[in-house]
C-alpha cells in the first residue's frame, strides 16, 4: 500500500465524509475514492459503508484504523526527522523519568540521537509515578519512562521495555553483610529503608507484611542518592531494582520469599501528535535489545 492511500483512508475515517476528506487532502474526490478502492482491494474487504454524504467504518475499517495510523505516523515522523536534520534544526526532547529509574539506562540512546543532530536540547523531568503522568498530561514531557503507571490514565500509550527483579541491599559492615544467605527470620528485627519515589513501594510493604515482617519498622527516603548514602552509613536494609547500580561498599543479595519484579515501560500520550524527535526516540527505545544492555 502507498502513503497517499493510507492518508486518504485516515482522512475519511476521521471526517466520515468523502467530500470533506478530499478537501482536506487537496485531492479530487474521484481520485480519493479510487485510491481507497485500491486499498480495499489490497486489504480484501470494504473499509467504509457509504451512506451519502456520510461514510461509516466497517468492522474491517475499525480494525485497520489504529494500525494504519500507527504505521502512517511512523512514516511521517521518519520523513519529518530527515527534513529537520537536513535543515540543521535543533532537536528537542522532553522526557520524564521516574525517580526510581537510573538515567543511565537510556543515555546511550539519547547519545545516538544527539549524534544525528547538529544540536539537541534535552529536558529531563524527574518525579514519582503520578507526577510523571501529570508531566505527560500537561505536555511538559512528550515521553516518559516509568513503571506501573499504565492504568492511571486511559490516554496513555505504553510499551513494555523489559522487566527486572529487586535485590536486597545492605552495607558490607552490616551484621548480615558477610552472611552466605539471608533468611526471612534474619530480617525480623531489621529496619527497612523504603523508597517513597518507587512505584512498587506499596507492593513491597504488602509483601513484607505477608511474610510476617514489620513494614512499619522503617526509614523513608525519596531518592536513590539518599538511599545509597544511608546504606553506605549502614543505616537500614534497602530494596533496589537490578538496573540501579550500587557502590562496592554495598552487598546485593536475594532472600527467599521476598521476590519482587517491575516492568520498565515507555509511555506517551495516545492520539497526541509527537514531534519527530520524540517519535524517533520512542522507536529507538522500543527497538532496543534491553535483555542485552541490562545484563
Amino acid at each position: 500500500m502507498e502513503m497517499h492511500q493510507v492518508r486518504y483512508f485516515l482522512a475519511v475515517a476521521r471526517t466520515l465524509n468523502f467530500t470533506r476528506a478530499a478537501e482536506e487532502c487537496h485531492v479530487a474526490q474521484p481520485s480519493l475514492t479510487r485510491a481507497i478502492k485500491l486499498l480495499e482491494g489490497e486489504l480484501g474487504g470494504d473499509l467504509f459503508r457509504r451512506e451519502r454524504p456520510h461514510a461509516m467504518l466497517t468492522p474491517l475499517g475499525e480494525r485497520m484504523f489504529p494500525l494504519l495510523k500507527q504505521c502512517y505516523d511512523s512514516a511521517q515522523s521518519a520523513r519529518a526527522l530527515a527534513a529537520m536534520i537536513n535543515d540543521g534544526e535543533i532537536g528537542a526532547l522532553k522526557l520524564a523519568v521516574s525517580g526510581s529509574i537510573e538515567l543511565g539506562l537510556i543515555l546511550s540512546h539519547v547519545n545516538e540521537l544527539r549524534k544525528t543532530f547538529s544540536e539537541i536540547e534535552l529536558k529531563i523531568l524527574r518525579g514519582t509515578g503520578p507526577q510523571i503522568v501529570e508531566y505527560l498530561k500537561s505536555g511538559d514531557a512528550e515521553l516518559a519512562v516509568g513503571t506501573s503507571i499504565g492504568e492511571t490514565w486511559d490516554r496513555l500509550d505504553s510499551w513494555k521495555l523489559f522487566d527486572e527483579s529487586f535485590d536486597i541491599v545492605l552495607s558490607r559492615s552490616h551484621r548480615l553483610g558477610s552472611q552466605e544467605t539471608i533468611d526471612l527470620a534474619d530480617l525480623k528485627l531489621e529496619r527497612f529503608l523504603l523508597r517513597n519515589h518507587c512505584e512498587k513501594g506499596g507492593e513491597l510493604a504488602a509483601m513484607l507484611r505477608t511474610q510476617g515482617l514489620n513494614a512499619d519498622h522503617r526509614h523513608e527516603v525519596s531518592s536513590d542518592q539518599d538511599l545509597m548514602a544511608l546504606l553506605d552509613a549502614n543505616i537500614g536494609i534497602g530494596f533496589l531494582p537490578r538496573t540501579v547500580n550500587t557502590p562496592q561498599s554495598l552487598v546485593r543479595t536475594s532472600v527467599k520469599g521476598l521476590e519482587l519484579e517491575r516492568d520498565i515501560c515507555l509511555y506517551g500520550v495516545a492520539g497526541r501528535q509527537r514531534t519527530p524527535v520524540a517519535a524517533t526516540f520512542m522507536k529507538m527505545l522500543r527497538a532496543a535489545n534491553w535483555q542485552k544492555s541490562t545484563s
Binding site: E42, S74, A75, A78, L81, E112, T116, A287, A288, N289
Partner: protein
Amino acid sequence: MTAKSTEDKLKDLKSSPRSMTEALTRAETQNISLSSRLSAYRKDSSDRRPEFAKAYDDLVERLNMIDQGRVGPGLGELMPEFNLPDENGRLISLSSLLALGPVVISINRGHWCPYCKLELRSLAAIHSEIARLGAGVISIMPDGAQFTGDYVAQNDLPFPVLSDIDLGYSLLLGLIFWVGPEIQRLYKEAGVELEKYHGNQGYFLPMAAKLIVGRDGRVKARQVNIEFRERMEPQALIATLRQLRIG
C-alpha cells in the same frame, strides 16, 4: 524383501526434511545459485506445509493484481532518507552510508523468514566482493534488536540489520502489505510471533526488495519481490555495482 527395503531406503533419502532448519541446510548444501536454493526450500516447505503454500499463493496473487509493476521507489528516483537503529542500538542514516559509497538496501520480512535468511546469507557470502567494489550493504526489517541481534551473530552477517519499528520507512517506500486473517492464523499456529517481533498488533510486513542506491542518492537498480519466495540473484547485484563503478 530385499527389494522392498532398498525402496524404503530410497524413500528415506528422498523424504522431506522435518524442520525448517533441516530444509534450509539442505537447500544451501545442495544448490549453488540463490534462486535454486530458494526454490528447493520452497518445494520442501510446500511438501511439509501445503496450507502455507496455498495461503502464500493467494496472498501473492492478491498483491500482484494491485501492483501493475509500480510498487516501491522507481529507477532514478531519490531514495528517501532513513535514521534507523541497528542491532546494537546505533542510529544509522542512509546519507552517512552514501558518503562512503553506493548502498545495497535489502528490505526483509523478518528474522523468522526462511527466504530472507537464505538471501541474507548469500549476501553475506559476496559481501567482501561488494566491499571491494566500494559499496555497503544494509538490511532493514520490522523486528526489534532483541531478535535481530542474535540473528546477525548466528548467521555471521557482516552488515547491520536495521529495525524499522511500526514499518514507517517501509510505508514511505510503498512496500508494506497486510498479511490478512488467514496467514495471521497460520503464523500463530506455526509460532511466528509477529506481534512480539514488531512490538505492535499490526500484522503488516514489507515486501522483500533490493534497492541499489548510487552515491547521488538515486535508485540505480531495483527488484521488488511481491513473490517473496524469489529474490535478486547476488551476481546480478554485483554486475550492477560493477557498472556503477565504470559509469
